[in-house]
Every structure is written in structure tokens, then in C-alpha cells.
Amino acid sequence: MDNSFSKKGIKIIGVIFVLYAVLVASHKGEFWPFSIYPMFSQAGNPWTRAMVLDVTDLPDDQIWETHSLYNRFAEPVPLKEHGIDQIDFSNFISKTENWTPERREALRYMFGQNRLGSQRWMASKVRGQLVQEDSVIVEIKPFLLVTADTVRMNPTLDKSEYFNGEE
């Protein structure tokens, strides 16, 4: 091998680099496997995740109340045991802007239509934020009640929480 190999190699890398830059610039920083690795780039902002609470044995008048993580009224359903990717689920809940009937059905499909039986699972949004400069509060907002044959929205929340007005 000689320097001509090295020159050819770095030129090819240069071409790939340009392709890389064009692809990530035109696709919000991501065109797999190319990425500008933007995770954790915006620090300090409130975050929203999701979890499923098992509300099978709770009365209807209690299950829709927003409450804190540390005083939660039901135990979380361990999604791993049900073969569901937690991050996937969390993004599905937090990034969906229009909860159309199809999207609600897709959530039921994600849980597995035959898995629920007589159980009632509450897909909940969980929000964390810094308060008073030195502590973090985490709040659970019950969002969608999933049963074997229905997906119900929280009647105490405004419609704008489920539909952003654009289809």
C-alpha cells in the first residue's frame, strides 16, 4: 500500500461526509445510521414520558385524577413482561398529536388485543419539571383507558389534549 490508497480513502470519506451532512441537514438531524446525535441537547426543559397503570380494581371516579408519581393510586404495568418496548410506547403516547379512532386502536394493538381480558389499563402521561431551582416534581396524568374492546379518553381533560386541530 502507498499514499495513493490513503488519498483515495480520504476522498471517499469526504464524499460520504458531504452526503452525511446533506441527509442529516434535510431530515432534522437523523437519517439512520447518520445522525448529529441530538439526544440530551436541550437540557433543563420539562420532559414527558408515559406509563401504564393497572386500574382494574379502582372505581371510575378515581381513575381520571391527575396525581404525583410518589402518591400514585395504582401500580405500573411492567411493559417488558408484555413484550412492549417502553421507549416506543412512551413516544407513541407523547408524540401523537391527533388521537383518531385509528390511532387509539393502534395503541390497543400495541398492548396486544387478546392480552387484556378483564383488565383495565390506564395509559398515562408522566411529566417532570424543575421547581424552585432545586427539586424535580413528577406528575401523572391519566390519559387513555384501554380495555379488551375499547379505548376511552379522559373526560376531565380538554379536547385540545387529544386533537391539535390539524388532520
Binding site: E30, I36, S41, Q42, R49, I84, D88, S90, G128
Partner: protein, 296 residues
């Protein structure tokens, strides 16, 4: 010599003789990439078949056509099968030299089908990038002397670039106060919710308890990780590479401990590309086995 040619010389070391240890190591590395490619392809395919029904987020090629048509009729499993077969043929150098390019295309397709549900994971990027470099290397440098050198050099280039760009993403996204320890508190709480949701229970570990007890300590943890990302590009220089990669591995362990995010494939591949393992192999072999010669 121009500056970029100097970087090329550091990445490809054209004046260093190709040794048996280098070829044996490269084949081992390629096997590592192939096994992960097959594993990802099947696990993504199976997940899609069981759980995907709607596209929430379009990534990569999914921006240009509706991938939900590929959720059904066992198409993800067919893609996994094809990826595996073509990958194995590519590994044994049977067939045309563009086989790895097809494998890369199929793996990209499988990724955008699987991750159409909202998550943008990065832990598989290094494997995807490696398949891409294998594809480019086998097309432009099918010579058994040059291909290993190009593939590993190109991977190191883009790994270094990726870490350094991650530093600047944070600087642009937040500013110089990115390493404020309270930001780590927020992330620890966020990840604790993820674990709680995934496992049904969560306990803070020792490092997380320490970080939550002191803003100074949590700030130092973030600053260490951030500065380590900044120097990612120094892995392009062969003498600095083992030190830079060691720091990056340490940073990943720190992320795992503080934020419960695992990067198994990432860290394993860093261990493979960051150190001159071929020197160790050369101490125990004097010639390249014929069966390796055929497959490089």
C-alpha cells in the same frame, strides 16, 4: 501534504505492512458486525410483526413512502431472512461486491419500519454505520489488503465525528450551561420513570444518589461526559486513539450508571476498534490461515 491527507494517513496507515493478525482481527470484527446485523434485523422484524400498526414518526426512507404497507404479510420477516442470507454471502465473499450495499439498504429499511412508532434510538447506529462502511469498502477496495484498512479507518472517522458533533448539538441546543447538574437530576428522574414503566419497580443506584445529593458533583459528571464528547475527533490520530476511546468507554459506563441507558453494541465495538488488537494476534501467529485468506 494537505491537512486532510494527513488525517487519511492517520486513519489508513498506508505505510504499515498488512499482517496476519490484522486480517484475522478484521474477519473477527466483520463477524461481530454480521451477527449484530442478523440479530437486529430479526428482532426488529419480529417486533414490527407483533406491535406495529400505524406510523407515528417517519425516519429515513420512510419520509418518502408509507412503510405501514410493509407491516403485514410477514414482510419484515422476509426482509430479515434476506438480510441474513445476503450478509452471510457477503461475509464469505460469495457473490458480487455490492452485496453489503444491499444488506445496508435492507437494514435501513428494517430500521425505519421498526422505529416508525416514535422512538429514535441511537444505540444501533454504530452497527449500521459499520455495515455502510463495509458496503463502501467492498465496492471501492475489494483488494484484501486495502479493504480492512479502509473499513476500520472510515468507521473511526465517523465515530469521532459523531461524538464531536454531539458536543456541538448540546452547545447549540442549550449553551455553555448545559453541564448544570440540575439537568442531570431531570434526566435521572426521566429515566427512573422509564425503568419503573418497563420493570414495574425502580431503585436509585449509588451514583444516582450521589448525583442527586450534590449539584457540584452532578455538574462534574456532566462536564466530564461533555468534554469527552468534544475530544471524540482525536480518535482519528492513531497514537491518541486508545486514550480517547478509553475515555469514551468510561463515559458510556457513566451514562449507564447515571441514566440507566445501555449501549452494549456501541461499547463492544468501541473496544474492538479502539485498540491495536492485531499486535497481540501477531505475537501468536506467523501467517494468515488459508481459510481467512479466502474470506478477506
Amino acid at each position: 501534504m494537505r491537512w486532510y491527507e494527513k488525517i487519511g494517513n492517520q486513519l489508513f496507515e498506508p505505510n504499515r505492512r498488512v499482517t496476519p493478525g490484522e486480517l484475522i482481527f478484521f474477519k473477527f470484527f466483520e463477524l461481530f458486525i454480521l451477527l449484530y446485523t442478523i440479530y437486529y434485523s430479526w428482532s426488529w422484524g419480529l417486533y414490527t410483526k407483533l406491535h406495529n400498526s400505524e406510523v407515528v414518526l417517519s425516519l429515513g426512507l420512510a419520509n418518502y413512502f408509507d412503510v405501514s404497507y410493509l407491516f403485514d404479510h410477514n414482510i419484515p420477516l422476509f426482509i430479515a431472512f434476506l438480510t441474513s442470507i445476503l450478509g452471510i454471502f457477503g461475509f464469505f465473499r460469495k457473490g458480487p461486491k455490492w452485496l453489503y450495499a444491499v444488506v445496508f439498504f435492507l437494514l435501513h429499511l428494517q430500521y425505519v419500519i421498526r422505529y416508525s412508532q416514535g422512538e429514535i434510538p441511537h444505540s444501533q447506529n454504530m452497527i449500521g454505520l459499520s455495515v455502510f462502511c463495509l458496503a463502501v469498502g467492498s465496492i471501492f477496495f475489494s483488494d484484501k489488503q486495502k479493504m480492512p484498512r479502509f473499513v476500520l479507518g472510515a468507521i473511526i472517522f465517523f465515530v469521532g465525528l459523531g461524538y464531536t458533533s454531539a458536543f456541538f448539538s448540546k452547545l447549540i441546543g442549550t449553551g455553555f450551561n448545559w453541564f448544570d447538574g440540575r439537568h442531570l437530576w431531570l434526566w435521572i428522574s426521566e429515566k427512573s420513570v422509564d425503568i419503573l414503566s418497563r420493570e414495574g419497580s425502580f431503585q436509585l443506584n449509588f451514583l444516582q444518589q450521589l448525583a442527586l445529593s450534590s449539584t457540584l458533583l452532578s455538574s462534574m459528571i456532566l462536564l466530564f461526559g461533555w468534554l469527552t464528547e468534544l475530544i471524540g475527533f482525536t480518535a482519528w490520530w492513531k497514537k491518541l486513539r486508545p486514550y480517547t476511546i478509553s475515555l469514551l468507554i468510561l463515559m458510556h459506563f457513566g451514562i449507564t450508571l447515571s441514566m440507566n441507558i445501555r449501549f452494549d453494541a456501541f461499547v463492544l465495538e468501541l473496544i474492538l476498534i479502539g485498540f491495536p488488537w492485531y499486535k497481540m494476534i501477531d505475537r501468536s501467529v506467523s501467517s494468515t490461515p488459508a481459510w481467512i485468506q479466502k474470506m478477506v
